[in-house]
């Protein structure tokens, strides 16, 4: 059996890669994919702790997180399509409609 903290470290590395992508990229959809990566890192943590403590609640949280991530992806991508129609670009630095 593989120790739980190895999974936690893998999850930490994946989360860090996602943070790095969000901070350094400018393409909106790539930033969105990095957010999905961070969500998956958190899911891995939930499942690792669920096995460590033999609790089903962690697994159910992952279930709900997946549903919320699907809703978030649908709405977020619709926002990017709308932004592309208005600005002809997906660059997040150009999305300054609400900038005063």
């Amino acid at each position: 059996m593989i120790p739980t903290h190895w999974f936690l470290i893998l999850s930490a590395i994946l989360f860090t890669i996602g943070v790095c992508g969000v901070l350094t990229r400018r393409n909106g959809i790539t930033i969105f994919m990095c957010i999905e990566l961070m969500i998956n890192a958190v899911n891995l943590t939930f499942i690792a702790y669920a096995r460590q403590f033999h609790q089903l609640h962690g697994l159910l949280f992952v279930f709900f997180i997946m549903a919320v991530a699907a809703a978030e992806a649908a709405v977020g991508l619709a926002i990017f399509i709308s932004l592309f129609h208005h600005r002809d670009t997906i660059d997040v630095d150009e999305a300054n409609l609400m900038h005063w």
Binding site: L8, I29, N43, L44, L60, F63, A71, L77, A78, I90
Partner: protein, 174 residues
């Protein structure tokens, strides 16, 4: 054997995640993210959660990432090269995330090392999950269904163009 599988698929997940962050073409990024999610599904199997591994493959790699690829190709993004990030932002982003990652791993190794593994198999088959889901979590389950309905309506409203006013008042619709 389990350890070999763990290290192989951990390496796969990390390498493809790095490709997502470093590659300029979003199509390549989306496909590497699919590969990374498959490797994570293997991790879920190693953690005795086969139901969630199946969900990961079906929902994430199958549905969400197809939506991403669909939007990338709809907007023809592979022909719009991303403008490079400013060097200051790049430097600050890499150093901040590296410091964050090092701190995270350090504190995990300091406080979250479990010497004792749980004994006995983890009862996480579909039956146990279903009983818990429909007994204790029935209210969040129904809320999630309403949330998904709201997401469908929101996505339709946001991405539909017909019927909306033109973006400039004096513009003549084609």
């Amino acid at each position: 054997m389990q350890f070999a599988i763990f290290f192989f698929f951990a390496a796969v997940a990390v390498i493809f995640a790095l490709v997502v962050v470093l590659h300029r073409n979003p199509v390549v990024g989306a496909l590497s993210l699919v590969a990374s999610f498959f490797a994570l599904a293997v991790m879920y199997v190693l953690l005795e959660a086969p139901f969630l591994a199946a969900l990961q493959v079906i929902v994430y790699a199958g549905a969400i990432m197809v939506l991403f690829l669909f939007v990338i190709m709809l907007l023809n993004l592979q022909h719009h090269p991303e403008t490079p990030t400013r060097p200051v932002q790049q430097f600050l982003g890499y150093t901040t995330s590296a410091g964050f990652g090092i701190a995270l791993v350090y504190y995990l190794l300091k406080y979250a090392v479990f010497e004792k593994l749980p004994e006995g198999p983890f009862q996480s088959d579909v039956r146990a999950i279903g009983i818990t889901l429909f007994e204790r979590y029935i209210f969040p389950f129904e809320m999630v269904s309403i949330l998904l309905l709201a997401a469908i309506v929101g996505a339709l409203l946001l991405s539909a163009r017909k019927g909306l006013p033109p973006k400039h008042p004096h513009e003549v619709a084609p």
